[in-house]
């Protein structure tokens, strides 16, 4: 699964730490999601998309091998 959290963060001008605080996880987890090392749960993905005010599929997209 791919995501464009890094881009959305840049648009909204917030750091990994601020995003992490808003969705209630550690900064390490946001970093791992951004670098595609960790796939978030549905609840966390929905929380992240709510922070950016966009539908889930604008931020997370499936890849061919998923």
């Amino acid at each position: 699964m791919k995501n464009n959290i890094r881009v959305e963060r840049a648009i909204k001008n917030i750091t990994q730490g601020e995003l992490a605080e808003q969705v209630g996880v550690s900064r390490q987890t946001i970093n791992a999601i951004e670098s595609n090392k960790y796939v978030p749960s549905t609840v966390l993905a929905l929380k992240i998309s709510r922070v950016f005010g966009k539908p889930l599929e604008d931020i997370f997209t499936l890849e061919d091998n998923d």
Binding site: G24, T29, S35, Y38, L44
Partner: protein
Amino acid sequence: MKTRFLFPYWCRYLGYALIIAHVPAALFRNSLGFNSPAATSNAGLFSNHHVFFVSTTLAMAIGLFLVAFSKEKIEDEQISQLRLDSLQWAIYLNYVLLTVCLIFSSDKEHILLLNLWVPLIFLIIRFRWAIFRLNSSLSREG
């Protein structure tokens, strides 16, 4: 995130303290005048030797439990997953060791003692290593 069955964060330090307190007691067991565990089983349930052995072993086991199963400062779903992964590896390793020991050794007493702390210690090391790698990947990217 709601987590069940985990101890509060400060329990980790209590756990380390218990483990550290257990080490000298176990190391100097003989010079303190207590026998090795193998000799205590015949000495009666409430003999000094047996009570000493049980209390030191319990201190270690409880300490390891507290360290292994206390919350992180920020507990989230990735941390939970890392802990579960580590637990899986610890169980694998434990059963491999147990099987090898049962095949090649008839010393059941030491197998039992080994079995008491191998999974927890391996879980702790593997989990700490995973957290360390997570943190170092963070500092690499800034």
